[in-house]
């Protein structure tokens, strides 16, 4: 069994705001092995972005508070690392492709400046010091890898001069420039229109296959996830409710929430308009005492409202957090 690259154990993150304390992440457990491709799906607001931001510790620490848990990257806990080690990881091991490219790119700097600086720092970390010429060459190379036309001219442009799809590819390029073992793609397709979505996802797939990096792909689109990853994690209200190899999850979803999600996708084969999952995400200030999905679950039992289920292994690498199975 290949070693664990990333092991998130029992992560709990709270946010303190005016109305009280939002207990967002509730014992999140995610494991990623070397070379493995992992998908993370869930509704908007369920804590996916918060989880990945915590991995490289770019959450704004007040108001966020990490109240419990460990994040082991290659055995070392990133939550306890000092800045120097953390920066090493950021520069050559883990990188994030952000969800909203217009927000993630500093509007007053040229693309070339930002990309150049990222490449410079990343190379320095690897021990090489590059000249301006070399940095420029590398920048053009990275931009070519993400299939951007006319990279030389692009370096001189500002983010506001680019289209949405181009910006997203620049973000991917930036992540590639400092990527190593783990790439995290936070909903890279959400802010794009349909035709570009497909291109960007294919691009990511190709790059990941070529470089043999691990990836955590967060997405709303189940189809995107299905085609790209080996294993899927389902998240609801800050809790991991199910995880399984992709094929198993889609052919035999166990958790009622995953079932509901998969049923919500309209099928071209007909059958009418599917129902959604009635209800909404719980109030994070007073989350349900037991299972967080229980209020919306059609198969809820009395025990579901009282205590919180943990992830149990049901069959071949298929884990569920539900009282219907095991415990």
């Amino acid at each position: 069994m290949t070693e664990l690259l990333l092991d998130i154990q029992d992560l709990c993150v709270n946010f303190s705001i005016y109305e009280g304390v939002l207990k967002v992440l509730n014992n999140v457990k995610i494991k990623v092995r070397n070379g493995e491709k992992v998908g993370l799906i869930g509704e908007a607001g369920c804590g996916k972005t918060t989880t990945v931001k915590t991995i490289v510790r770019i959450l704004p620490v007040p108001p966020a508070i990490i109240s419990n848990g460990k994040i082991l990257f290659e055995g070392k806990d990133t939550l306890k690392m000092n800045t120097k080690d953390l920066n090493t990881i950021r520069r050559k091991e883990i990188s994030i492709i952000f969800q909203d490219p217009i927000a993630a790119l500093n509007p007053v700097f040229k693309v070339g400046t930002i990309l150049g600086d990222v490449i410079k720092c990343s190379s320095l970390e690897k021990g090489e010091e590059l000249s301006k010429e070399e940095i420029k060459k590398k920048s053009i190379a990275v931009l070519k890898e993400v299939a951007l036309p006319d990279p030389e001219r692009l370096l001189k442009n500002y983010p506001c001069q680019l289209s949405g799809g181009m910006r997203q590819r620049v973000c991917i390029a930036l992540a590639l420039a400092c990527a190593g073992k783990l790439l995290i793609a936070d909903e890279p397709d959400t802010n794009l229109d349909v035709t570009i979505k497909d291109q960007v996802l294919r691009l990511i797939k190709n790059l990941v296959d070529e470089m043999n990096t691990s990836i955590i792909l967060i997405s709303h689109g189940l189809g995107a996830v299905k085609g790209l990853v080996d294993r899927v994690y389902t998240m609801y209200a800050g809790t991991i409710v199910e995880t399984a190899p992709t094929h198993d999850l889609f052919s035999d979803p166990l958790h009622p929430y995953t079932r509901g999600l998969i049923k919500s996708v309209p099928k071209l084969t007909g059958g009418g308009i599917p129902e959604g999952i009635p209800g909404r995400l719980p109030n994070y200030i007073n989350p349900p005492v037991g299972c967080r999905f229980a209020p919306r679950c059609e198969r809820a039992m009395p025990i579901c409202l009282k205590s919180s289920p943990t992830l149990v292994d049901v069959s071949n690498e298929h884990e569920v957090a539900c009282f219907l199975y095991g415990e």
């Binding site: 946010f15 303190s16 705001i17 005016y18 108001p63």
Partner: protein, 284 residues
């Protein structure tokens, strides 16, 4: 504004201790100004009054802030000074806010036309020199007294409101709900006052609160230079200008009015900041 809203707003406002301090200062100054007749120990001293035997006394039990050159009680004059400062501010605001807002609404609504260009060019002309300087110049052309300094400040300050409202109106007027109102045939004045204006309230109110400090500052400066209130009016700026030539021996004649000015402006600025934080959109 129901009870829950008020409580929530108060919580947000009071989170910043300094804003609460500002609110207390403003209330103190306002109450002092309103009840000046009752609070001041020697109310007669604000007019032509001389008592040379008691002149130039340092602060003592009878005159907590000392007496000035004419023997007048500095404390009483300072208390009445608050009244003049606030009066000036209120009068100036009563004039500039409606005028500036209406012009801004019209210019913004008809933006792109000659009405817009006309109004905004006039605004630009008035803002071609710093407002305080313009007020000083207008004062110089008129007889120096408190009413004329109010007129001067009104003439210098109205364009700011026009600009603010113009900016807001020109962006709001492109929103769908305005177009809907136009299609429905609503008369223009209703669109301006019932649809657009309420959306400007929070920024307008914030600006007004922060502006009070500037107006008091400008008024004090005008009086200090001799362009505003004249003796024996106990305007705070005038008191400073009368007294500062006698520094450092008779320091109390100048320092106490100075402190009063700073206290007032500081209070309004602190409170205004709290109001601005309250009214601007906030996440955690």
């Amino acid at each position: 504004m129901n009870k829950e809203n008020i409580k929530r707003n108060w919580y947000k406002f009071s989170k910043n201790k300094l804003s609460v301090v500002g609110l207390i200062a403003v209330l103190t100054v306002s109450l002092t100004a309103i009840f000046a007749n009752v609070i001041a120990p020697y109310p007669k001293h604000i007019e032509w009054f001389t008592d040379f035997k008691n002149a130039k006394n340092p602060p003592n039990l009878q005159n907590l802030f000392g007496t000035d050159l004419m023997g007048r009680d500095v404390l009483s004059r300072t208390i009445f000074g608050f009244r003049y400062s606030l009066l000036m501010t209120v009068v100036v605001l009563i004039f500039i806010v409606p005028v500036g807002t209406i012009l801004g609404l019209i210019a913004g609504y008809y933006s792109g036309t000659r009405v817009d260009t006309g109004i905004m060019r006039i605004t630009d002309i008035f803002l071609a020199v710093p407002s305080l300087l313009l007020a000083m110049v207008v004062c110089a052309f008129l007889r120096p007294n408190i009413v004329n300094s109010m007129i001067a400040m009104a003439i210098a300050w109205w364009p700011w409101y026009t600009r603010l409202i113009y900016g807001l109106t020109s962006s709001i007027k492109n929103e769908y709900f305005i177009q809907a109102a136009e299609i429905m045939g609503k008369p223009t004045y209703q669109i301006l006052f019932r649809e657009i204006l309420p959306n400007c309230f929070s920024q307008l109110f914030t600006k007004m609160t922060l502006e009070v400090g500037w107006i008091i500052l400008a008024g004090a400066t005008l009086s200090f230079l001799g362009l505003g209130a004249q003796p024996p009016t106990p305007d705070l700026g005038t008191m400073v200008s009368e007294g500062y030539k006698y520094l450092p021996e008779y320091w109390w004649m100048t320092i106490f009015p100075c402190l009063a000015i700073v206290f007032t402006i500081l209070g309004f600025n602190l409170m205004g900041d709290g109001v601005r934080d309250l009214l601007s959109a906030e996440e955690y």
